[in-house]
Symmetry: C2
Subunit: 446 residues, 2 copies
């Protein structure tokens, strides 16, 4: 059975195109490291994954929106090449495994296009389409990209299934790591265990560059060095990592103590982040605006930080000042799919909200059934931002910097699940312990 | 202590340049997957690794062959960026860790070049050097590449040390895998264990795309799918895999039985390949030609295959026919260093030898002290090549195809070590069991 419902995906794209035509998408080739012959592990073009399901190099793809017929163009592998990379499947075999209407060798491209005689050819502006320059009068390089992007926003059932598998594989490794990342180990040991684990489980690669951050490293939002020792039982370990399964990503973050239990300051901050996440998951459903979910997370964070005495003053003024953006300095979450930061977050004409934290929000639109998003609130103590807050009177007045100092040793906490928006609410695809008592039970089990 | 002796490396390069000048090498930037913001794990430009030792993105490098002074140009990281990727080390910190004479921010590039006032600027033709277009009259894009390539051929002691570490880490995982890859497991399980193991040991990445080939898959020379079950105790498992440690590669292959012991046909072929490898390692030393080592491996293979009855006829005629290239269809080995297939294998004007097998040899030159090479003979039963041999009367007459049929079920055997050419012979950097009894002892230990 083909993994991707090619006909449905093509149809989804076609409905966002204004006039009939022939869609042409070029799959990626193997990349070579410069001035060497070192092949990089192949990564298919994301839009090619969506429209064709093909995960191998050297293919391209045609879809005629008039006849609704798809054609896959396969690379021809010479007998000499076959000695090195193996015999290619037959054209019939490719047709069956990809579920397309026709498969031919790439050298038939011009012939096929001529026989279809399209009124228009839709291509992707960022791709080199010189191989069809013969038809340059017909080419529209604009409409296709946003059509595929919009189609990718709404996940088909089989896409959700792949993302669920990616989540299950990745989530299992996260859970295993909770009972592995003891003090004395290096972040690298945890990282290697994650990568080994997801490959072992069937993922083809990390969906994005894994973050393993111990001590104060969680305060570097995209910390990817992963090379320091886990020093102290009072440290936190933050792991932001997900595998890609047949082209679809998981994106999961957990934060847990390096010791058997959370320290008091870590526990307090952790609980606030968990409350932020739960509030959002409780409220995310069709017709809610994603920026309102970010603001809801802000609200829970402010309440929590006021209770701890880190923030002080009038609640409305605190909120309006966006001082919370100095502690929660990134967006609440993003679309997830073939890309980790998946396409379609900002419809044409929608601008970013230029306020601390929320300016990094990668999605600003109404939630609708079929969207998959990450919910990843966090609270961090970033030196640079604390310094900046101190120097910004409009926000400094709301902050107790002595309290900040006390908490800052924990670096930061982030908790991230992946949710599918359903008809009436959402479905959480991520199944990894996140309650304090559950994490401590794992940490204490050894 | 800086890991790379920058001054020595620069000097090595300068001595291959005919006239004085300023060397300019641009380090790589982080690559982004097309139409997404997915960052690929950073991989430094290989020539930048050699000349500067820098393994981080965004740097560039100057070396004045007149004053023998090096200047590292560091990217400036804004406070906003630092929130995401961390604070940058100070310029003084960078100077100490890279062992260069001067470190400045990249925006000083023109100023520095102007103050040096070089008579010539050597750059690399494959790099985009538009940032120094102001000096285009001075630029020579030709001489530097071959100078760095030639310098890279002769490894400095600290380079050998890094390669020894890469070998030790990778070799340990190979040895572990021998007691892990039992029938019922998938090639993917073995692959994941390799990747996890080398990252755990301190390597930053696979040096090249790992091959885990069970059953008849070894007969696909660059089999990288790694997704089939290890089916039978009579199968062989071939693992061709190495890690990169601080920019330097290991490249190791071992082949072992999926059962506790080798089957009879596997044992016979394995012993021939081992004999090929040992003969080469016994004879590889300064002033020997590498193509003669390939021919020596051919000779041992021919003797072995004649003894098994796979080849038949007059020994000289068999040799001259290069029929052995149908069973040993790749080169004996290649330079190894920063790149897995390292630079400098063919001096200007030297052509490939257009005969089966040896035409793929990646090095044709006199061995000299300081070179590091892989020694990786193999014997394979590749369907396509056997068919081709059958259809080629000049070679078919030397082959007993019934015998071939009997052995072909084993797929193939390759054994690969990494050697350093020393003053009087060579030093084997690879320490992984390869004798039949040692491998079987590991396989039987459980």
């Amino acid at each position: 059975m083909p993994l991707i419902n090619v006909a449905k995906h093509c149809d989804n794209v076609a409905k966002y195109l204004n006039s009939p035509g022939l869609i042409f998408v070029k799959g990626a080739e193997v990349s070579i490291h410069p001035d060497s012959d070192t092949e990089l592990r192949f990564m298919q073009d994301s839009n090619m994954v969506y429209i064709s399901g093909v995960l191998e190099p050297g293919f391209s793809f045609l879809y005629d929106t008039v006849t609704k017929k798809s054609t896959l163009l396969a690379p021809f592998i010479t007998p000499d090449e076959a000695v090195w990379i193996g015999e290619q499947p037959s054209l019939a075999g490719l047709k069956a495994s990809y579920g397309v209407d026709t498969v031919v060798y790439s050298d038939k491209l011009e012939e096929i296009i001529s026989s279809i005689a399209p009124s228009k050819i839709y291509t992707l502006s960022y791709q080199d389409c010189s191989i069809i320059k013969k038809f340059s009068d017909l080419i529209d390089t604009e409409a296709l990209l946003s059509a595929i992007h919009e189609a990718r926003v709404f996940k088909e059932p089989e896409e959700v299934e792949l993302m669920q598998i990616a989540n299950n594989i990745s989530g299992k490794v996260h859970t295993d790591l909770m009972n592995y990342s003891w003090t004395g180990k290096n972040e690298r040991n945890v990282y290697s265990k994650f990568v080994g684990g997801i490959l072992d489980g069937g993922c083809e690669r990390e969906a994005y560059t894994t973050i393993v951050a111990a001590g104060t490293h969680p305060a570097t939002l995209h910390y990817i060095k992963n090379d320091s020792k886990i020093n102290s039982e009072s440290d936190l370990v933050l792991v932001d990592a997900g595998g890609s399964y047949r082209g679809y990503a998981a994106d999961i973050t957990r934060t847990w103590p390096a010791g058997k239990t959370f320290t008091q300051p870590a526990r307090e901050i952790y609980q606030i982040v968990l409350d932020m996440q739960k509030a959002v998951i409780e409220n995310a459903k069709p017709h809610v605006l994603w920026e309102d979910m970010h603001l809801l997370a802000n609200k829970v964070a402010i309440d929590g930080l006021v209770k701890l005495g880190i923030l002080k003053g009038n609640l409305k003024e605190i909120t309006d000042s966006f001082v919370i953006g100095y502690f929660f300095p990134h967006g609440l979450g993003h679309f997830l799919g073939i890309d980790t930061h998946d396409a379609g977050g900002y419809p044409k004409g929608v601008e970013r909200i230029n306020k601390p934290g929320i300016r990094y929000l990668r999605v600003r639109r109404e939630l609708l059934e079929g969207m998959v998003l990450t919910v990843e609130p966090g609270i961090y103590f970033v030196d640079g931002l604390i310094k900046e807050a101190k120097g910004t009177p409009e926000v400094a007045k709301f902050v107790d910097f002595d309290k900040v100092e006390y908490y800052s040793r924990i670096g930061g906490v982030r908790i991230e699940d992946n949710i599918l928006i359903t008809a009436n609410g959402n479905l959480n695809l991520t199944n990894v312990p996140k309650e304090i008592q559950d994490i401590e039970a794992i940490r204490c089990s050894q």
